[in-house]
Symmetry: C3
Subunit: 330 residues, 3 copies
């Protein structure tokens, strides 16, 4: 069942590009969930095992795939960072966006879709509407620069996907790339769970709910977080996926040691990350009232949480190998 | 079952005034719980439906009313902000009180009840005892200005209820008015739950426990928070109850959209609130490990968290209409 | 069943000394768990009642003893503060260590055990390796001053246990003394639970999981935290164990009042603590979604969270009496 992926196909890249453009800031992930669900239903006939699918209003915006007799669950969050319109076109943050002034944003309110420009820095942010829709739109573009957005409208980075020979760059690789890696891994999983989670970027993430459910219903006590991380003095692009020893929370050492030994035995290159702050769906699992272990696996990005998130393809391929090895051997 | 309340009766006002004067800082809510329980038992014969009552030591200081076949739970917190005596008459905060120096406080330790004065500002606070009891007391007032209070004694604002033709002003409208609105709504609820919660102001609120119980035992996945909020650049007194799109947590968009559409269809005026910080019993529900949705509904106050909290009656009446419409139609 | 301990035996002191030297920073407590489990198995034949033991991978690093028909659970955390190696010998904190520069640290990575020295202050910390092992080691000591430690390696204070006629001083009295008090109390418990918990110092503590389990499986709603606290303007060594009215969380007043009245009736000296910040396993229990009460009982330390934590034996003896009285009478 080992995976022999050596490169990323054009079809896979198209899927990733599409995923990166779907609107889904924290709390408003239903379009991403629907996109992934539709993809799964069209693809799963070719998968090694057919999962049971858990979704619908009683799962909020979450989506869960249960394969065979699961021991380990893989978590990929669907939600993205972004902004909420407060009053008078001022913006407040969803999660921790780090965009520069004049970044292009997009959204939709009862007046229809729009493209806007981010104004200001730090926490003094606002938006100016540029046009009523995307440049790819066929309708005649009327001037919308006086358009006021409704309070509560949520905005995300405008899509801008760039694939080079060695790298991929796009807004929202964090964490549509995690979702995409989970979908690629799904092709060969025989026993395990994939959870597409919500609210990871902003707090109150659903990984706590899903991991509690999985423990209660299936006895699943092992978790792997499939997400993105950032280049630091200790982490470099091109040196393999990142295995985190800790962030603001500390996973159980004996479990992380097992993850590391599986990576070593599989001959997959990896880097060890050690951080004092930050968190992930792993933090949500740390805080549940069940004995569930977790370990964060990330692909290192440059320009984290900006519209220019950039990864190396070699790290992506090795991350997929690592996730597949972990789902098989943990 | 729609409510036709157009004004607030004297009897209703008396109930609110009494509620505002009961001692109940976070962690010490049993007197409020007992007051509400006694009121319910004397009134419920006239209600449209008789709820099952959940209370007692196995529910800590909480109180829960379950009507018919519940789909939605209404949460009103009973606890208030206040102060705890540390050592040498110094005070630390319970929740986030915003009172001015020389505000009148009240409390009771093993030496009996007392009235005191708040001294200092920011986090350098202390109390001086003024007298051994309220001015309404019949006993001769001995000088108590040298009386030392026991560490751990909790103090609240002295009661001071003022009802005008258009407004109501009192300490602890937050959230005895929420409790009172819930009691008025209870008269016509046929299916639903009312939760009177604890520890909301200080952290570790019981709404998490109660909402988990309600999901597990009754399958309740819909929540409405019945609380107070504050006037800002986007929120004005007189423009209707507030529906919050977010505070430090972000409720699920599709659920809030349903709340808004019910308010629109019922023709009830409302305002949309968008905040980057703050929280409520909704935050506690966001953090449980169940798929339970929540939306915050508040009455806008001036002088929030002071002894002079002030609301307009028209907003109160519309808040009651909104809660009744939501309990009926969600 | 009342306890008549008047002094601490040499054998008891040896057990405490051994406990204080076991490596067990948050997330890596398995050696402490194994040490305690071995002790229990060798001693429990002499106990008044034989508990059921819950441990193993399905309990992560936790250990739970259930005696008879439990009403109350005693929580002692096994994990300690410490440091994690980040990159290039820099250190980040586990919990809140307060050691001075040049403090001796110990740890082990794939290169074997080592002794190191803490360099720097505040959050700019690093470590220099001094030797490959303890002075008590028989092997010839080679110079290891150039040895680089692996990222993710965790370090703790070097052991340094000092027992005088009136006092005990050692790193990690917090909370190996709590574990030790729980083991002494275990000798006479007939009905109750002892929980040896994990992750208390760093966040995401297991007391939430264990207390949820105990409520669900045994209906246990009463908790006592057995831990260490610090001398302040209101708390002095020698004045008895500390009963906390609050820290950053506020336990239910009526439960704390019962604890105080049991201490009074038993004639055990105690001090009342009131703090605005800080937390314990009690905070974890406050945040579960069960109606479980808690009260923090601590022994007052000087030099808290340093390698020189110091307590008076008279306070320790009275703490043991108080825990025994509470387990019997709550």
């Amino acid at each position: 069942m080992s995976l022999s992926l050596q490169s990323i196909t054009d079809s896979d890249l198209s899927l990733l590009e599409a995923l990166c453009s779907v609107h889904g800031p924290s709390g408003n992930e239903s379009a991403v969930r629907d996109f992934i669900l539709k993809h799964i239903k069209s693809e799963m006939e070719s998968w090694v095992a057919k999962p049971e699918i858990f979704s619908g209003d009683e799962y909020q915006n979450n989506l869960m795939l249960v394969f065979g007799k699961p021991r380990t669950a893989l978590y990929a969050h669907m939600d993205s960072i972004g902004y909420t319109v407060r009053y008078d076109m001022n913006l407040i943050k969803i999660g921790g966006p780090l965009a520069q002034q004049f970044t292009l944003l997009k959204g939709e309110d009862s007046g229809g879709p729009f493209i806007g420009t981010l104004i200001g820095e730090g926490n003094e942010l606002s938006v100016e509407v540029e046009s009523h829709c995307d440049a790819s739109c066929d309708a005649p573009c009327e001037d919308q620069t006086d358009r006021a957005l409704e309070p509560g409208t949520d905005l995300v980075y405008h899509h801008d996907f760039r694939s080079g020979s060695r790298s991929i760059q796009s807004p929202y690789l964090d964490n549509r790339m995690g979702c995409w890696l989970a979908l690629l891994a799904a092709r060969t999983i025989t026993d395990g769970v994939i959870c597409f989670t919500t609210w990871e970027e902003h707090g109150g993430g659903s990984a706590g709910y899903l991991s509690s459910q999985l423990y209660d219903r299936f006895g699943v006590r092992q978790s792997i977080i499939c997400d993105m991380t950032y280049v630091t003095e200790g982490i470099r692009s091109g040196r393999g996926p990142v295995i985190s020893m800790r962030d603001r929370h500390i996973p159980r050492r004996s479990y992380v040691d097992r993850v590391i030994s599986i990576a070593r035995e599989a001959g997959i290159p990896f880097q060890i990350e050690v951080e004092a702050s930050g968190g992930s769906d792993g933090s949500e699992i740390q805080l549940i009232h069940r004995p569930v272990d977790w370990c964060f696996i990330g692909v290192a990005e440059e320009h984290y949480h900006t519209p220019d998130e950039k990864v190396l393809k070699v790290d992506v391929i090795n991350a997929l190998k690592l996730h597949s090895a972990l789902m098989e051997n943990l």
